[in-house]
């Protein structure tokens, strides 16, 4: 089976400035790929290249095995794209607008009504279908944008920050929808909200200053995030140097005379030795808790590494 999206060595320059540098990745059916990065990291540029709004300075993009640059019409037929600002004609009603989008995406005339109806249903737009887009709230406009990108049942759906401006309940709904869509399509979704990636994606890519610095499945990421630090609480102050001398421990931070954070290599099983050491020296062990590393920590540590 060919990958839905195959991006090979993509680069993009704006004048002299390099926005995206040598980015390669694949997307398969049933995957939801989260694209993470700070503002200006190159997320939007990459997405615009993937959907043909921007030509890459170098590299190749295959969508369903069709080259996007050589045969743009055929390749784009398999794409649904929601840009960071939803592209809406505000003087149309929701229904008219979606109908027009369906026609633009070459949905056959007799199937249009059905496709529009299904998209409206999926995005919860039935109650506002005859309202003008102009009069809708930002959240509803965002939903119209999402409806527009899925109504022709494309193989690949690219969503640029789909949950911006929505209220928490709507965010839940949209995440649910994305998960549901992800079962049958391939989805790329960009965001700078880390928990969003954790909740809705199956794979993660972190991009910083135009370069991919991490490509991982969510399971792999969770493993990365596991127990690299231990919180240790004792009745008496401990001797930090003794702890540091233990095999596998990299650093010990004192939060207070009774509470410490112990850093260690992921693979070393330090807990036993740490506990034994505390008991042996009779410091009075009170609590020993593994600390989960948050995605923020990984993100910050990865992005700050590339700066140094």
């Amino acid at each position: 089976m060919t990958a839905l999206i195959e991006a090979k060595n993509l680069s993009r320059f704006y004048g002299r400035q390099c926005a995206v540098e040598n980015v390669s990745f694949n997307l398969n059916k049933g995957e939801i790929l989260g694209f993470l990065g700070k503002n200006g990291a190159g997320k939007t540029t990459t997405m615009q290249m993937l959907c043909g709004c921007l030509a890459p300075s170098a590299g190749q993009i295959l969508i369903n095995g069709i080259d996007l640059l050589d045969q743009p019409k055929q390749a784009k037929a398999a794409l649904g794209y929601l840009p960071d600002t939803p592209p809406l004609y505000k003087d149309l009603s929701v229904h008219e607008f979606l109908h027009y989008c369906a026609r633009l995406h070459r949905v056959p005339r007799q199937r249009c009504a059905k496709a529009v109806h299904k998209a409206e249903q999926r995005c919860g737009l039935e109650s506002v279908r005859h309202r003008l887009i102009n009069q809708l709230s930002k959240g509803f406009q965002q939903r119209v944008g999402i409806a527009q990108s899925i109504l022709h049942e494309p193989d690949v759906i690219i969503l640029d920050e789909p949950t911006v401006g929505l209220d928490p309940i709507q965010i839940q709904d949209i995440r649910q929808l994305i998960k549901q869509l992800g079962e049958q399509h391939g989805i790329i979704l960009s965001t700078h909200i880390l928990s969003e990636v954790q909740q809705s994606c199956s794979h993660v890519q972190i991009i910083d200053q135009g370069r991919l610095i991490l490509t991982e499945s969510i399971a792999g990421l969770n493993r990365l995030m596991n127990t690299e630090r231990i919180n240790l609480r004792t009745r008496l102050p401990v001797d930090i140097d003794t702890l540091k001398a233990l095999d596998g421990i990299t650093a010990v931070e004192a939060k207070s005379p009774h509470e410490y954070i112990v850093h260690f290599h992921t693979k070393a099983a330090v807990t036993d030795r740490l506990a034994a050491c505390v008991l042996e020296n009779q410091w009075g062990l009170e609590a020993i808790t593994p600390l989960k590393k948050s995605m923020e920590d990984i993100f910050i540590s990865l992005t700050s590494q590339t700066h140094t």
Binding site: K90, D91, Y100, R106
Partner: protein, 250 residues
Amino acid sequence: MIFTIARREFQSLFLSPLAWSVLAVIQFILAYLFLTQIETFMAFQSQLAQISHAPGITDIIVAPLFSNAAIILLLVTPLLTMRTLCEERRNKTLTLLLSAPLSTTDIVLGKYLSIIGLLACIVAMTGLMSLALLFGGELDFGKWFCNLLGLLLLTAAFAALGLYLSSLASHPTIAAIGSFGLLLLLWIIDWKAGLQNQSSDVLEYISMLHHFQNLQSGLLDSQDVLYFVLFCATFLILSIFRLEYERLQK
């Protein structure tokens, strides 16, 4: 696909008051000018009757009516075209078209046809107005048709240039003022030659007025028709290139 875009654009022109007000204003002004022209004709009618081979009703009323319509459309067309591509870019709706399975040619031609649709309505209404003369006289239908065709070709050329400037400009008003200035320049470019009594062939060929007047006189010359066709094609191709270039450069 071209027609899908053209139809949607045409409909949205009529969704806002823009198209309606343009139609109303033009119709009102033309009707007023038409009446004054008829008044003039009535005043000179007795004198005209004494001249052999006197200019007929078509020359005295219909041709000036179409000339007036041309001048008004010179002012109005930039206002119609200014928003076509420029507004899409400003509202970021252009991505919808760019990411859909369409070529830039489809986009440009679709937009262009919608404007031509509205302009054709205006030309048709001008034509119908002149047909009112049939109640009291006879028309030279050959000349009438040439006037109609001339005005249509002329406005098609206006629209092509306006569309190109709309693809260049970052703000609709800039597109409007730019296309208005260029059109006016092309309109008057051979006036200077006429003043000094030394006509320049090149300037005369470039001038839109010159070709339009040739058609108005009832002379359906392929050279004049070709001028307008080439003019439209050039600016449409430039607009297509401009959109492509944007994708490459930005």
